[in-house]
């Protein structure tokens, strides 16, 4: 067990390095000279050459990667082309906003998914089961950026109950847990929650149905255990796998929120990415993707470790 933990943590290091390399290559695969990603196109020639030397862009690719990596490890993600500010200063605020949105969305999605999936798995073949399966399929098939627009049309344009965009009154970026701010969170969080809800419903339904068909459940029933008692046993068996799926979904939410954030002008990493793409601001694009991917790698690791700790059946030597 202990050695498994060490091995799993060590295995994350090459993955993280490789992810870093992919992000490094993003600027390289961009059409044109990578120097254009750093200096504005109208910079004078001698400035361009100076920057080229400073960034080590005159050196071979592996050396460049090494230099870039050294900087990244120290928290230097470069400067934005559009604003001139350091990428990290824009990114740190945006990450907090995205995390806030993703966590609320996953709370909604996971709760609904567990309830629907649990009911569907327990009462297999019933009306509830078919309804849950239908909702789950719709949830994973819906283009969530479109769902966001439909919700805006319904609740902002037609009913005028909730604000359509932004993260605070008057476009302020300061966050506070009061209704003034939280009302801005409702629509994007619900929109973002739909996909994980569908996936969690499907997964939990499968896991519960599988466990319910096992012999120990029949034995518990034979022992005269109440429904609630059996339920507890089933939950205990279902939890590790269900938690693993949910953990990964949180990561997908962080990465996938770009479309929803664009629809709602939510000032998170998605909107940052969208602006970076629009202005071809490659340092911001690279930095944001690197941080989100690293978050996902860390989450993957955490999920594996927690799952191993929770489930005594998994013996990973």
């Amino acid at each position: 067990m202990f050695f498994y933990l060490i091995r799993r943590i060590l295995y994350a290091v090459p993955i993280a390095l490789a992810v870093g390399f992919v992000c490094f290559m993003l600027v390289q695969i961009a059409p044109g000279d990578p120097i254009n990603a750093i200096v504005p196109p109208d910079a004078p020639g001698d400035v361009v050459e100076q920057v080229r030397r400073e960034y080590g862009l005159d050196k071979p690719l592996p050396v460049q990667f090494g230099l870039w990596l050294m900087k990244v490890v120290q928290g230097d993600l470069g400067r934005s082309l559009a604003t001139g500010r350091s990428v990290w200063s824009d990114l740190s605020g945006a990450i907090v906003n995205t995390l806030r949105l993703a966590i609320i969305a996953s709370l909604i999605g996971f709760t609904l998914g567990c309830v629907l999936g649990g009911l569907a798995g327990t009462f297999r073949g019933s009306f509830i089961d078919r309804a849950a399966v239908g909702i789950a399929v719709a949830g994973v098939s819906v283009p969530h950026y479109w769902l966001g627009m439909v919700l805006v049309v319904l609740f902002s344009v037609q009913l005028n109950w909730l604000p359509a965009m932004g993260a605070g009154p008057g476009g302020s970026s300061e966050w506070d847990w009061n209704w003034e701010h939280v009302q801005h969170l409702v629509l994007p969080a619900v929109t973002l929650a739909v996909i994980p809800m569908g996936i969690v419903t499907r997964t939990v339904r499968g896991i519960i149905a599988e466990i319910m068909s096992q012999e120990f459940v029949t034995a518990l029933r034979g022992k005269g255990l109440t429904r609630g008692g059996i339920f507890l046993h089933v939950v205990k068996n279902a939890a590790p796998n269900a938690l693993a799926v949910m953990g990964l979904q949180l990561g997908y939410l962080m990465g996938g929120s770009i479309l929803v954030e664009t629809v709602f002008s939510w000032p998170g990493t998605g909107l940052l990415l969208n602006n970076a793409i629009f202005q071809r601001d490659l340092p911001v694009l690279q930095g944001t993707i690197l941080v989100l991917a690293m978050f996902f790698v860390a989450l993957n690791l955490a999920v594996d470790l927690v799952q191993t700790a929770l489930d005594p059946r998994i013996k990973r030597a």
């Binding site: 993280a16 993003l26 479109w146 990465g255 996902f296 790698v297």
Partner: protein, 303 residues
């Protein structure tokens, strides 16, 4: 040399077995078809998709107007306007026409990456599963790297770096779908590789190429294909999503995701016209999803 003219008992037995095997394999597909026919949801989805496919193929004949010809005086008409059944968009172009033409690019961009990824991913996955050892290590560890990115993020990253355009978007999406197909292909191939009939084929002197072609592919293509069809729905949402972000098709080309984006400002004027392209994406995607589920059940593929 009597066996050359009159079959021996053993040969006759073999011939009967071969006939039975043929009948069985025929029976498999007949069984699949029989199960499909009893599944009204799958049949309905297949019909909807077929109908959609026909309308977008014959869009030039069916469309009442020109998809590019706009007019400043009839911008953003409501649904049900005479002569403009589904209204007009922000530049006064007929919505029905643009939805019909838009389906062409949306479908193309939803299916092409999965088809490309199916070919590449199956090749690499079967190679990794069949060869094992170092080749397996190399392919599967590379796959792990791409698994470290959430799919939307990877697609946005690659096409964002390459710049807007249909080819770049298709390239990015293909790269997104290759790793999951490799994983599925590798796992089913590893399962088949250790079965007795593969050993028997090897013992009878069949070359690796023959074993893969005859014994492995026949058994793994079905499950991989079913898995790939389940990706079409995701791919269509992602492809339209890229266009929605301005990374796929460029205006004035009609494409559902891009139309959704350009109509975003119109939700205060004609909300129900503005959400039409997204409804098209939704219907297509849910039908592909249900079709894939139905196929999986009918073909009895596990996983």
């Amino acid at each position: 040399m009597s066996s050359a003219t009159t079959p021996t008992a053993a040969e006759a037995e073999l011939a009967v077995q071969a006939k039975q095997a043929a009948a069985r394999s025929h029976g498999y597909w007949a069984g699949v078809w029989k199960r499909l026919r009893r599944d009204p949801v799958t049949i309905a989805c297949a019909c909807v998709l077929l109908l959609m496919f026909l309308t977008i193929v014959f869009a030039p004949m069916l469309a009442p107007h020109d998809p590019y010809q706009g007019s400043m005086i009839r911008r953003l008409r409501a649904i049900g306007t005479p002569n403009y059944l589904l209204g007009t968009d922000e530049l006064g172009r007929d919505m029905l026409t643009r939805l019909l033409f838009g389906g062409r690019l949306s479908w193309f961009m939803g299916i092409t990456p999965v088809a490309l990824a199916f070919v590449v991913g199956t090749t690499l996955g079967v190679l990794a599963g069949f060869a094992g050892g170092r080749i397996n290590m190399a392919i599967m560890r590379t796959t792990d790297i791409f698994y470290a990115f959430p799919s939307v993020l990877l697609a946005v990253a690659i096409s964002g770096a390459l710049g807007a355009g249909i080819v770049n978007a298709i390239l990015a999406l293909t790269l997104v779908f290759i790793p999951p197909i490799i994983r599925v292909a590798e796992s089913v191939t590893t399962g088949v590789r250790n079965l007795d009939f593969v050993d028997a084929a090897r013992a009878s002197g069949a070359s690796a190429f023959t074993i893969v072609r005859v014994h492995v592919l026949g058994n793994v293509l079905g499950p991989i294909f079913v898995y790939a069809t389940s990706l079409i729905s995701v791919c269509m949402i992602l492809a339209s999503g890229l266009s929605f972000l301005g990374l796929g098709t460029k205006p004035p080309e009609p494409e559902w995701g891009l139309m959704l984006n350009t109509l975003r400002t119109a939700i205060y004027v004609q909300p129900w016209v503005a959400v039409l392209p997204g409804a098209c994406i939704f219907v297509t995607s849910i039908c592909f999803n249900l079709l894939s589920d139905g196929l999986r059940q009918a073909m009895d593929v596990k996983g």
